[in-house]
């Protein structure tokens, strides 16, 4: 039970980090760029943004902390790649209610229809 609980808490922390990382429009733009072209160098990534390289590095720290990107160094070049797992978790979180209601309403429709049939058979 402790293991399950800790899993749930970590899951919540991961979600919080993911959503906090996604609040910022520059960070979303960085992710959108990586989505179009994955595995780019930091200078290439920073190029279209009207902010300085250190600011881009800070945004990458936040994205890295949320697990949304990975950075790998080869010689003097740091390559940034997208990691989609936290995003999948975030989307799944958003879709939980859709799943809940879609299944529940299917069952409600079947139950109410059977009640309607019974009422008719009783001549009401």
């Amino acid at each position: 039970m402790r293991i399950i609980l800790s899993h749930v808490v970590n899951y919540q922390e991961r979600l919080t980090r993911t959503f906090a990382a996604l609040v910022d429009p520059t960070r979303r733009a960085i992710l959108a760029r990586l989505e179009r072209k994955d595995g780019v160098s930091i200078s290439e990534l920073a190029e279209p943004f009207a902010i300085k390289l250190p600011a881009v590095m800070k945004h990458l720290d936040v994205l890295d902390g949320a697990g949304l990107v990975t950075r790998s160094k080869s010689g003097r070049t740091v390559t940034v790649r997208l990691r989609s797992q936290p995003m999948r978790e975030a989307v799944a979180w958003l879709r939980r209610y859709e799943h809940f209601w879609s299944g529940s309403l299917d069952r409600l429709a079947a139950y109410a229809a059977s009640q309607e049939t019974q009422a008719r058979n009783r001549g009401r």
Partner: protein
């Protein structure tokens, strides 16, 4: 504000659907996303009355939600508040609005579950959070990054 709306056509008259939605006997028959059982169902369907439902999913996890009837007008409209017990899954309180409309084959039910992210909105201390979340949801619902 992120919300979810679903519409269903049901082969039963609005009175029957309304009772299925609001009574404890009715709720026990359908509440929950899969074929797992409802373990407990309590309901006091009048304004200010409360409901409580516990269900088990097929994966054997149990969940309990409860809330209050905020508006009730048989057989066309009911508004409920919703909160998960324990609050681990989603700590805030959300709102469910169900409207029923008579149609030739029976009832058209419209369900809106809203205020899904109040707690996060309060705790994020950043403006535009829910707006960005809506955009994000629309963006990734298209299957990007999937």
């Amino acid at each position: 504000m992120t919300s979810l709306t679903l519409v269903r056509r049901i082969r039963a008259r609005p009175q029957i659907v309304f009772d299925a939605v609001t009574t404890a006997e009715g709720i026990a028959q359908w509440w929950g996303p899969d074929a797992g059982p409802v373990l407990l169902s309590e309901s006091d369907p009048r304004v200010g009355g409360r409901y409580r439902v516990r269900f088990r999913m097929l994966g054997s996890t149990e969940h309990e939600s409860s809330g209050e009837f905020l508006e009730i007008r048989r057989p066309e409209r009911v508004v409920l508040s919703w909160r998960w017990k324990g609050g681990l899954e989603d700590p805030g309180e959300s709102r469910i609005e169900i409207t029923l409309r008579a149609v030739p084959e029976g009832t058209e039910l419209t369900l809106t579950h809203s205020r899904l992210h109040d707690e996060e909105t309060r705790s994020s201390h950043e403006k535009g959070w829910t707006g960005s979340l809506d955009k994000l949801e629309a963006h990734f619902a298209a299957g990007a990054l999937a």
